[in-house]
């Protein structure tokens, strides 16, 4: 994907604001001018939970405007619980911006963004960039229930067409958001972020539709900067996204593991060896 290295570093951000968007879904705004200035759509940060006693955690950069950035996250375990305890005025150590981000260089005119659950946190910036460039942007947004479809009005206000789906039918289609995508008018490009099963489904819909798709993958991270090889995904061995590594032969097929944190988190669906 996009290969220009962005100037990243470790920043002491200050919390500006905090909102609970739903039960256990938190949005925190922070001040970190140098970080925000260089953030590209689809990049993320490694955030150090306040106690410093648990590992740092990867979070997408939701907003990046002026000197303010924000994080939108689900409280699921120790680290996100600690981060959810942050209040305006508190400090927060952030390393980033990290990762490649979405590749919008083809200047696409009609884009489908597919977000599942917390995947919404990584797709506001690409949506804004595409809209600013005059593209049509449809947001296909799925969650377990209506409550968890946080920030959907925000995307409408930005100018997206928003298509919803919920597991329980409490908003939009009942079922998977990829079913809605399948039935919709094919876009020129798909960008997707969400749980792995959803991304697999997006990849297969994209293949059926003959549309190229960029998927933002998730995995447990340790370092977030490519140092531990803990977060890999298998690519086809000839992938243009493969890191410097001699292709290996095995069982007649050709595969290479790329680091989601470094070569990703965004990969072309057709290059994944899923």
């Amino acid at each position: 994907m996009s290969t220009t290295a962005s100037p990243c570093g470790t920043f002491d951000a200050t919390i500006l604001d905090r909102r609970e968007l739903a039960a256990n879904v938190v949005l925190i705004g922070f001040d970190a001018p140098a970080l925000v200035a260089v953030t590209r759509p689809g990049q993320y940060v490694m955030a150090v939970p306040p106690s410093g006693e648990v590992a740092s955690t990867a979070l997408g950069i939701y907003e990046a405007q002026g000197t303010r950035g924000s994080l939108l996250f689900f409280v699921v375990g120790k680290r996100t619980t600690e981060l959810a305890g942050l209040r305006p005025g508190d400090g927060l150590s952030l390393t980033g911006p990290l990762g490649n981000g979405f590749d919008l260089s083809s200047n696409p005119r009609d884009v489908a963004i597919v977000a599942g659950g917390v995947g919404i946190a990584s797709v506001l910036l690409p949506a804004q960039a595409l809209l600013a460039a005059g593209a049509r942007v449809r947001l296909f947004y799925g969650a377990r229930n209506r409550e968890l479809l946080v920030e959907r009005e925000r995307f409408e206000r930005e100018g997206c067409e928003v298509i919803l789906a919920t597991d329980d039918g409490s908003a939009g289609h009942r079922g998977y958001i990829t079913q809605a995508l399948e039935r919709a008018e094919p876009p020129e490009l798909i960008l997707a972020c969400g749980p792995t099963p959803m991304l697999r489904a997006v990849a297969s819909v994209a293949e059926t539709l003959g549309v190229r798709a960029q998927l933002s993958l998730e995995e447990t991270f340790a370092c977030g900067v490519g140092g531990c090889w803990g977060c890999v995904v298998p690519l086809i061995g000839t992938s243009a996204q493969a890191p410097n590594f001699p292709p290996l032969e095995r069982g007649g097929s050709d595969v290479v593991y790329a680091r989601i944190c470094k070569e990703g988190p965004v990969f072309w669906a057709h290059e994944l060896r899923w």
Binding site: P7, S93, T220, C223, G224, V225, G226, C228, P246
Partner: protein, 324 residues
Amino acid sequence: MVSASGLHDIDLTTKIGSLTLAYPTLMGSGCYGSGEEFAPFVDLAKIGAVVLKSVTRHPRLGNPTPRLVHTPAGMLNAIGLQNPGIEWYLEHDVAKFAGRPCTIVGSVAGFSVDDYAYVCELLGQRSEIAAIELNISCPNVASEGETFACDPRLTGKVVRAAREVTDKTLIVKLSPNVTDIASIAREAQSAGADALAVINTVRGMAIDVETWRPRLGNVTGGLSGPAIRPIAVLAVYEVARAVTIPIIGQGGIETTSDALEFFLAGASAVSIGTANFTDPRVPVRIVEELRAYLAQRNLRSLSSIVGRANVGFANAQQYEGDEG
């Protein structure tokens, strides 16, 4: 009391075989990738040495994912020695350090004595490499959990083979997953090791109780981080009493106080692994704080505290336990 301006007179150098480290903190193997990834965050010249990710004779894909699990005060990893093989490694990962002002230690893993010797010989010829660490203790690759470092005889064999093919400083990395680490350490020393790295990760496992599957693709993995620090301090303490060569202590070091435990237990230098994932500046910060610690105590060199843990009973007036 050493004056603040005298802080830089304090001698923090450490001799490891023929190599003199300017600083006693290293970046542990496998936690710094090819050494390059952390360069934006920390000045590699201010670190004693960067130990590169272990390399093998042939390229290795490594283990299936997931490869990482967070556990209480630590993490399990099962990377499985993913690496491009020695050939590519020399051409790319080693060559890029030519002429750069940092100390690079190569780490070698293998599956046979021949493999180790082959890779050591090639690495040993490279001027970019200041020393070689033999990783004979990776818990994530052998079938039955058996590694070279679990058997004194195999340890002796592989160290002798490496010693024959290189004059570079040879560090042997030991496993805590043994009944008696001191006997392995003695064997490594008598086979020609210049120093010992103590410890590699502790074998462990975690199970997802929703899916009933192991949380690591490789089923088992290696535990690192603060959780294992007491295990590592003891291993260093026991090894220090068994050998005369320097020890590079590691396992759960996050702060200067943690590092001091290792120095007092007998380590001449320390490696930082997991803690770098939270903050890669840890090794540099420890160096600064060590200076202040020594200055406060009017000590002029780090070596004056190595192995100085006083193991007389903590409370001498007190009645002693009655075991044999």
